[in-house]
């Protein structure tokens, strides 16, 4: 088999698109927090890019896509990525794209998944503790779970090396379990470990910059087209189907979240529009390659409305999942994964299955439920353990004074904005220059 230029181009472009979701998420999250912690919020995503990129190369790819034969943990037989050079990608069947293109495409998924978790502990986590968490979490949670679901082994070796959920035929096109449920369950666990922000929920902690949030949501949607449509690993009908469904589910989520707000609260908000888009996209992630377009619209509508209601749960139950990682990603992910039990169809994907609406049996819904429960339970539990250990050993939070003053200043010695005329702002450059000294002198 030769490398196919069209397929390879598409996967490389999609890799870049998914990469753009990281800064997109940083903007989305950065705008949602208060001005005094916006830099820290964005840095939580950027540090994840650095750490996960290195770990993926060292052993992450191997744990996710290596062939250990046990179905749970890919092992260490392809560490370092070097042996992927001049190889074609193999995941189930063989694809006419370089193995490295596949490896980099998958890396971007690992980055965005752990970055998503940061939203649940906004404004209060020590940067060093977060960095340690990122490394530990991808190693013990993301890489194994990606192996369970995304690794189809090698057909030429009789499917050897496939993950246990992939072996059972779970339908998860682009990561409803691996990315969405995984980050959502972990976000909930980490919010419980780290605890509420000082003053939550009594004092208002409203978003400081909604234009940033809308820009971030737009970039996420844009990148998500590559996330979902690139998961076909080729420039083909399946990519077009996945892309269509991704556009449509975002539209559905946007409309239904706004509809709920208009009826319930009286106004359609910009934050509701941004959140609805994300909710719809989360739900379509596992489903985009297995359903027909009308079902994508319905799925988006359902997910947007459902998430608009579930984000309020944290106030009743008393956990400070600050940016609703649980309410959007876990809930949307579960909806998308279970929906496949009803609306999956081989019309959309001959390699897929038929759900209940298309004459399939209950077994599809059964397998989907198994995958949802297994990933949710595993990632919630292991994240609790990782978070607990880090909290014991090095502490997960900055002290109260630093949190109230602003975590940007405490953890990064920077502030995001300076519009004041006095003290080095827009009009005060001379003052700033006069007092400038080298660090350490």
């Amino acid at each position: 088999m030769e490398i196919n230029a069209g397929d390879t181009s598409w996967v490389l472009v999609c890799t870049a698109l998914v990469f753009l979701m990281a800064p997109g998420l940083a903007l989305f999250y950065g705008g949602l927090v208060r001005a005094k912690s916006s830099l820290n919020m964005m840095m939580m995503t950027f540090i994840a890019v650095g750490i996960v990129g290195v770990l993926w190369t060292l052993f992450g790819f191997s744990i996710s896509f290596g062939d250990s034969g046990n179905g749970f943990f890919g092992g260490f037989d392809s560490v370092g990525l070097g042996e992927l050079l001049n190889q074609l990608a193999v995941n189930g069947g063989k694809y006419p794209i370089p193995a490295l293109a596949f490896a980099m495409f998958q890396l971007m998924f690992a980055i965005i998944t752990v970055a998503l978790i940061s939203g649940s502990i906004a404004d209060r986590a020590k940067f060093s503790s977060w960095a340690v968490f990122v490394g530990a979490w991808v190693t013990f949670v993301y890489f194994p779970v990606a192996h369970w679901v995304f690794d189809f082994g090698d057909d030429q070796l009789g499917g050897s090396g496939a993950g246990w959920l992939a072996n059972r035929g779970i339908l998860d096109f682009a990561g409803g379990t691996v990315v969405e449920i995984n980050s959502g369950a972990s976000g909930l666990a980490l919010a419980l470990i780290v605890g509420r922000r000082v003053g939550w929920p009594k004092s208002p902690m409203k978003p400081h910059n909604l234009p940033l949030v809308l820009l971030g949501a737009g970039l996420l949607w844009f990148g998500w087209l590559g996330f979902n449509a690139g998961s076909s690993l080729g420039a083909n009908q399946l990519a077009a189907t996945a892309l269509t469904n991704t556009v449509l589910a975002g539209c559905g989520g946007l409309l239904s979240w706004l509809f709920v707000e208009r009826i319930r609260d009286g106004h359609a908000t910009s934050l509701g529009a941004a959140s609805g888009v994300v909710a719809g996209l989360v739900a379509i992630t596992p489903a985009c390659g297995f359903i027909v377009p009308w079902a994508a619209v319905v799925l988006g509508l359902i997910a947007g409305a459902a998430c608009a209601f579930t984000v309020g749960l944290k106030y009743r139950l008393g956990f400070d999942d600050s940016l609703d990682v649980f309410g959007v990603h876990l809930v949307g992910g579960v909806i998308g994964c279970l929906a496949l039990g009803f609306v999956a169809t081989t019309i959309a994907n001959p390699a897929g299955k038929n759900g209940l609406l298309y004459g399939g049996g209950w077994s599809v819904l059964g397998t989907q439920t198994l995958g949802v429960v297994a990933v949710l339970a595993y990632s919630f539990t292991v994240t609790l353990v990782i978070g607990w250990v880090i909290n014991k050993v090095m502490g997960f939070r900055v002290d109260e004074e630093a949190e109230v003053t602003g975590i940007d200043l405490d953890q990064h010695l920077e502030t995001a904005y300076d519009f004041s005329a006095a003290g080095g702002g827009a009009l005060g450059q001379r003052t700033a220059r006069a007092t400038h000294t080298e660090v350490g002198s």
Binding site: E261, D265, L271, S275, A308, V311
Partner: protein, 112 residues
């Protein structure tokens, strides 16, 4: 001499400025302020959660005037800033002991 301070609705600033120029006031200091009186605040909704914002944006305008001009200036501000709705603001005057123009060193009424 008196320092007149006015807290007004931000969108009334231009009207008040014009009214002050019309009665011969030559300079003023304007700053953004926030606070509340009987108006209280308002509520905002983010992802379905209501936030009470009790500090609403206001503009604080300060002018120093000679004693005989105080009533005329206050009347001008009040007339220009009034909408008749709650939250229009307050105007007050307090005595000023001394005043210096930094450029020339002039003191007292000459420095106004």
């Amino acid at each position: 001499m008196k320092l007149i301070t006015a807290i007004i609705k931000p969108f009334k600033l231009d009207d008040v400025k014009e009214a002050l120029e019309a009665v011969g006031v030559q300079g003023m200091t304007v700053s953004e302020a926030s606070g509340f009186g009987r108006q209280k605040g308002h509520t905002e909704v983010y992802r379905g959660a209501e936030y009470t914002v009790d500090l609403v944006p206001k503009v604080r305008l300060e002018v120093i005037v000679d004693d005989p001009d105080v009533d005329a200036v206050i009347d001008a501000i009040v007339a220009a800033a009034q909408t008749g709705r709650i939250g229009d603001g307050k105007v007050w005057a307090i005595p000023v002991e001394s005043i210096v123009r930094v450029r020339t060193g002039e003191r007292g009424v000459d420095a106004i």
